[in-house]
Symmetry: C2
């Protein structure tokens, strides 16, 4: 198994990317001897960075790529033009079967556009979706949320397929059989929502996955269900709103506990518990966000990712590949194909 890490993606490249890769590769050398991690980027730069960080192992390979696609570039255009960019080159290696996954902190748009052009969609899948882990604030677990914004002009079938893809991914990487899937909507009853979500509800209720109905935004943070699906616009609004609210509360809390001696002393006494609280919101260990629906494993990590995020993304990509989630999705789509045959001419 070969996992490629984009050495030039994100704000902290290549330094933190290389460090995270070294950390993962050091561990994998003994636990997963058949896994090779490749860093893609300018050969000399990456090579030097590996040396600086004291790397002397054998399970990191450097793949030379001279170009980088930045966040400012129009993704589709950049993907067409920059054939020797880290992202395009890595995707071509996956397509050729010479690598199994790409992890990148670079442009989400380029990963998506490049993935579509190079790898293509899984047969039957209408639109890929970005799936992100959202912390369960009541028990420290995580819920998979999709689509987080790959596809903002949604149709009911896309949302339905998000359900299939999310369920297969959770089953494949967490080993949870038949995970519970809910539809993010503006009311709990099946009659609630706009036409898009009402029709998606009808499809989901007829499909083969374990769909248990609507969920409202206020309940996602404390739900026990494993997958929450919606269209890319609402999903993105949900994710950013929740993150914004959590961050604002935490910052306000921090400020308040610095006002006056009594509060400061109180904060000092409660320090270890406050630290535990902060860890619940530490996204670093969840692993990357997969772009599901592509014929190959492509994972996005936050642009500001550091060593830990990269390390966890590598480690957590292994079951994604080993359990062949891409094939699981393809099979599940086939199983449900009659539910979205009507519109398939458009594909």
């Amino acid at each position: 198994m070969k996992i490629i890490v984009d050495g030039m993606g994100g704000d902290n490249a290549p330094q933190e990317i290389v460090k995270g890769t070294i950390k993962a590769a050091s561990e994998l050398a003994s636990t997963e001897p058949d896994v090779t991690v490749s860093i893609i980027g300018p050969e000399e730069l990456i090579g030097n960075c590996l040396k600086e960080n004291g790397w002397n192992g054998s399970n990191i390979e450097v793949i030379d790529a001279t170009e980088v696609i930045t966040n400012d570039e129009a993704p589709a255009m950049a993907v067409r033009r920059k054939k020797d960019s880290t992202i395009v080159k890595a995707l071509n290696l996956i397509k050729k079967g010479e690598a199994d996954a790409l992890i990148s902190a670079g442009s989400t748009g380029a990963l998506l556009a490049g993935g579509l052009v190079t790898l293509g969609r899984i047969k039957g899948i209408r639109r890929p979706a970005i799936a992100a882990w959202f912390p369960k604030l009541h028990n420290g677990g995580t819920t998979l949320l999709l689509d987080c914004g790959a596809n903002v002009e949604a149709k009911p079938e896309y949302i339905f397929q998000n359900g299939i893809m999310g369920a297969m991914y959770v089953e494949g990487v967490k080993g949870i059989k038949n995970p519970e899937v809910r539809l993010l909507n503006i009311g709990a009853e099946e009659t609630k929502g706009d036409e898009l979500h009402k029709e998606a509800h009808r499809l989901l209720a007829s499909g083969s996955i374990n769909f248990t109905g609507n969920i409202e935004g206020r309940d996602v943070a404390v739900t026990d269900c494993e997958v929450v699906i919606t269209d890319g616009f609402s999903g993105n609004v949900f994710l950013k709103s929740s993150e914004g609210a959590v961050l604002a509360v935490m910052n306000r809390f921090k400020e308040k506990l610095q006002e006056g001696l009594k509060a400061k002393l109180g904060a000092l006494l409660a320090y270890s518990k406050i630290k535990e609280l902060k860890q619940i919101f530490d996204y670093a260990d969840v692993g990357g966000a997969p772009i599901l629906g592509l014929k190959g494993a492509v994972l996005k990590v936050h642009g500001n990712s550091g060593e830990r995020e990269v390390y966890y993304a590598i480690i957590k990509a292994i079951p994604y590949i080993r359990n062949n989630v891409t094939q699981m999705i393809a099979d599940a789509v086939t199983q449900n194909e009659e539910l979205f045959k009507t519109d398939s001419a458009e594909e």
Copy 2:
């Protein structure tokens, strides 16, 4: 000026509704002698409740209504059938010019359906919208968010008009001239979002209000802008997600500070500051959520509202009526009418 309070709406009716009304009326007797507050509901029940709570003033009037519309009823049907319900009767009094506002903790759907049927829309307004105050978590102020779910099948013109209505409401009730308005979207750049939000952005940029561009969900809690607009589906998702996240963090925080003696002692020392933090999220004093776009002032308060919520909703409804926000909206719509003429045949 006459403000009608629905004596039978919400979980705590009539007790808390009557208490809140007494609190407001007692104060208004000296500060606003021309304001009468009416409670609508079964005459004997409300009369007894006023007596029980020691009311002996003269500026509360009881209006008899024998029926109540519950949350379980289909709103449009209930509004047609229950002519003697608190909501329908109160709306008819506003229509006849015998009252100026209705405040209710009852069915939002019935307020909306009843408002449309009885009062009708302001000339030129395509769809009413529910506007709610959202706390600014960085400075204790509030931002007006609309639409929070009145209208889930949106068009760009509706979102544009939400901007007009929100700006006029904030100007009318807070006295802020030319308040800053932003569009909730999935990216800051004007090219971001689905077609609906991109077209809304174009309209907003051409209109007469102080539109300053897109805002992402993560920034709303800490924005300085006065009004955030979007479609009813996204608005509802935003509001509930943020509330859910805040609540989950606060609960988790409370739990953590009860784990062990040191944390408990710390919490005790920091108690006054923690209390201040909780007050930022106390929505009781913001006033009700106006259903904007109707020819008359209709305000919804939370179904679980207590005395304080009702009191503040009454007090804060006064500038809404006195500054004739309904007329301000009508004028602003006229001023911008050429921007949405194209689609007006559909009205």
